[in-house]
């Protein structure tokens, strides 16, 4: 069941009615309902993997209590390792096992040894495993670092782990934010519900009207890159930049909006990352829940930036490589991570990685100045170039794509073989960029206009956009589900 399906909206309507009408008086009943609904939601993909969520829940629930029970540092660390090994073990087996086996045999054959590998397994990657394992691990980490007390309410904890809006593709929530909201009584607030619906609408627009609409062009260009000139490849890269952004941030908006319908506030996951002025700012705005996870649980424990420059560089490399590896068991993701690390290091050495921590482009003015525009374009170009590794099926494809980009340096107007009228998409993207610029200071309020008429026009325009760019014949799944 995906967010952009009719089945989901039917499910949501039934759940919403039961939640606020039938179970309104009891938090426990509401939590039981959410837990059952979340397991049903996940079970629609593959019910067999519900056992993994349940196991992860049980392990971290008990580990949390055990860590809290003792003041003995060694024991606390041992219990933390139980959580880490269990969750990373799950990930390792389901997501990375075949990658390690294949890489090992490739390395051996490169060194002249022939290994006939029979070790690879046909393992299905459980949807969302990278997200919920990180979420449960953060709970154990927070207790270990004494930022949080463990809950003794197993039902609430299980609901926290499996909360369906963010179960399969984030935002990766922290227990300190989500758990208290699940334990305490939720109140029906008109404003929160309306904000939720608005966010869902905006997310659906990004997913259906942009990400899904651009997908056929991106697929064509990345599949047939060898037959296209550089201008078309650049177009393909730019389209993919918007496709992946709108796909993932659209998902996050729908997730945050859905949670609001149940009186729960999730963390913001995207803050207009393509308006970033350097790579440091980009990572404060892109997939915030993951980058802050790595910052809090890997980068800072390693010493963060409060160590020698050399160790600081090491720490930067570690989080970017791990981040790349988190995305998928493929060298393309690791190179993508390394590429970002290389771009981040100069910014880090100049101390500019936190420069734009609390501001956004044209913070106090209507329009950005030329310097800001230049910085944004440079950052966007770099990020977009790095997406080549992310989008390519293999390193060979990525390298050949880049070679074609520089070898066949010519311009040609792109005509999609399926006949899609390209002008429509250019206009769509232009309007989208201008609109995002207008709302850049309010990532959680995409229709934040005081004028009622303007607000109404925005709703209508967004729905019209969905209808105009709805493409019945394409795969509607979210890109980040594969991670």
């Amino acid at each position: 069941m995906v967010f952009n399906s009719l089945a989901f909206f039917l499910f949501l309507a039934i759940l919403f009615s039961l939640y606020w009408f039938a179970f309104k008086k009891s938090v426990k009943a509401q939590n039981i309902l959410i837990l059952i609904a979340s397991y049903f939601f996940y079970g629609c993909w593959d019910w067999r993997f519900l056992s993994l969520i349940l196991l992860s829940t049980i392990v971290d629930y008990f580990v949390g209590i055990q860590i809290y029970k003792t003041e003995n540092k060694i024991l606390r660390k041992r219990w933390l390792w139980v959580s880490v090994l269990f969750n990373v073990g799950l990930l390792g087996f389901f997501k990375y096992y075949n990658f390690f086996v294949d890489s090992w045999t490739d390395l051996a054959s490169a060194l002249g040894y022939t290994i006939k590998s029979t070790w690879t397994l046909s393992v299905i990657l459980p949807v969302g495993i990278s997200f919920y394992t990180f979420q449960t691990m953060s709970y154990s980490f927070d207790i270990y670092y004494k930022r949080l007390e463990p809950t003794r309410n197993f039902l609430s904890f299980a609901t926290f782990v499996s909360f369906f809006p963010q179960l399969v593709a984030g935002p990766i929530e922290r227990a300190s934010n989500l758990l208290p909201q699940i334990i305490n009584k939720r109140i029906f607030k008109d404003k929160q519900i309306i904000e939720g619906m608005k966010l869902m609408l905006w997310g659906l627009f990004k997913k259906i009207a942009i990400a899904d609409a651009l997908a056929p062009m991106v697929d064509d260009i990345f599949t047939n890159y060898a037959s296209y000139p550089a201008s078309t490849l650049v177009l393909g890269i730019c389209f993919f930049s918007f496709q992946i952004y709108c796909d993932f941030s659209g998902y996050s908006d729908i997730a945050i909006g859905t949670a609001k319908l149940f009186g729960v506030e999730l963390m913001t996951n995207f803050k207009f990352p393509y308006f970033s002025r350097n790579i440091g700012e980009f990572w404060r705005r892109w997939h915030v829940s993951l980058s802050s996870w790595f910052r809090d649980y890997i980068y800072i424990p390693l010493g963060g930036s409060r160590v020698s420059k050399l160790k600081g560089i090491r720490n930067v490399f570690v989080i970017f490589l791990v981040s790349g590896f988190w995305h998928g068991a493929n060298w393309t993701f690791i190179i993508w991570g390394a590429f970002h690390a290389l771009a981040f290091i100069p910014v880090f050495l100049m101390g500019d990685h936190t420069k734009y921590k609390n501001t956004i482009i044209a913070q106090t003015t209507l329009l950005p100045n030329l310097k800001e525009i230049g910085k944004v374009l440079l950052t966007f170009s770099f990020v977009s170039f790095s997406w080549i590794f992310f989008r390519s099926d293999s390193m060979t494809d990525a390298i050949l794509f880049i070679r074609q980009l520089f070898d066949n340096f010519s311009f040609e107007i792109y005509k999609n073989p399926l006949g899609y009228r390209m002008e429509d998409y250019f206009i769509l993207l232009l309007i989208f960029i201008v609109y995002e610029y207008l709302i850049r200071k309010t990532p959680r309020s995409p229709f934040n206009f005081n004028n009622k008429v303007l607000r109404f026009v925005s709703y209508t325009a967004v729905i019209l956009g969905i209808l105009l760019f709805y493409d019945d014949g394409i795969d509607r799944s979210f890109i980040y589900f594969q991670f």
């Binding site: 399906s5 009719l6 089945a7 008109d190 109404f456 729905i463 019945d472």
Partner: protein, 319 residues
């Protein structure tokens, strides 16, 4: 709670009204002509209707249609006589041509190349060989005056039945419910872009949840390729026997790439004439079909017209 429900309801109604208005103003969806069954039991369009047809989202293809006095989309009225030369094109939506301006149809293209020849286009979406031969048989007197008849035939789609019967599913579209729904352009638009397929798939999901059809029975219900071929050939013979086929004047227009060789051999052996357009379409350097829709575009129609013109002139020369 009440406030939010009222507010959401009000906004929804207002937005739907706005969308209805926008779709009408920009003509984002097609008009539906009315259909009926005439006194001979032939299903066709109610005569003398005009409108616009839209193919693909965002008005990717926009065209005008005109249903003539006889009930088919054509700029020409069908008045054949023994003193003039006429060609009839009989077929489905490809001949009907709602995806082209009615004054730029295949028939018109043929007439532009052949002086003093009138082309009558008997095209109707969904027509199969039973519809086509029944039509010719029902209007036998009219077709007797027509010099040559080209019948569009798709072996896979057009030979599923051996006798003609009125297709009730198509006529359901003229029921009061459908007529009322079609008054809303927004509903028509949503239907055209395929958004109702999501509703269908949801309904299927829900029903299959309760009634699990075993995979084995599904496999059994699929006939073998050879059986299907024989069945289609039987239907072909049955239709030819029932409604007649003048081998001197009638020819099939078909894609040999998509027709079984056995069937082509059968046609040759039994002296049924046919023209192949498949190879010509495949070899064309320019696209021959529309976007979002596999009907012929202007270039595709040019090629078909050229094929018929060549055949017609060759036939006259050899006569």
């Amino acid at each position: 709670m009440k406030r939010i429900i009222l507010k959401t309801g009000l906004y929804t109604v207002l937005i739907l009204l706005c969308l209805e208005g926008i779709i009408r103003i920009f003509h984002l969806t097609k008009d539906y002509p009315k259909r009926y069954v005439d006194k001979f039991g032939v299903e066709k369009w109610v005569p003398n209707q005009n409108g616009y047809s839209v193919t693909g989202i965002r008005r990717q293809n926009f065209s005008e249609y005109h249903i003539n006095n006889f009930g088919f989309n054509s700029y020409r009225e069908f008045k054949p006589s023994y003193n003039t030369q006429e060609i009839a094109l009989v077929g489905d939506s490809f001949i009907e041509g709602f995806h082209q301006n009615y004054y730029n149809s295949i028939g018109r293209k043929i007439e532009n190349r052949l002086k003093d020849v009138q082309v009558f286009e008997f095209g109707y979406a969904g027509y199969d060989l039973a519809d086509q031969l029944h039509l010719i048989n029902a209007y036998n007197k009219m077709f007797e005056k027509i010099d040559y008849v080209y019948i569009l035939l798709n072996f896979t789609d057009d030979l599923s039945r051996g006798t003609y019967e009125i297709k009730k599913e198509r006529l359901k579209l003229e029921s009061p419910l459908y007529k009322t729904l079609r008054k809303s352009k927004l509903i028509v638009y949503l239907y055209d872009i395929g958004s109702f397929s999501a509703v269908n798939s949801l309904l299927n999901q829900l029903t299959s949840f309760y009634k699990k059809v075993p995979a084995e029975s599904k496999q059994k219900s699929q006939p073998k390729e050879n059986e299907t071929y024989e069945k289609r050939l039987d239907n072909f013979n049955s239709l030819v026997d029932l409604y007649g086929f003048d081998k001197k004047r009638y020819k099939f227009l078909l894609d040999t790439e998509k027709s079984p060789k056995k069937f082509l051999n059968y046609l040759n052996q039994n002296k049924f004439h046919y023209l192949d357009f498949g190879l010509m379409m495949d070899q064309s350097k320019k696209r021959t079909t529309l976007v979002y829709d596999m009907h012929w575009n202007d270039h595709g129609r040019d090629l078909i017209a050229g094929l018929i013109v060549n055949d017609f002139t060759n036939t006259l020369r050899n006569k």
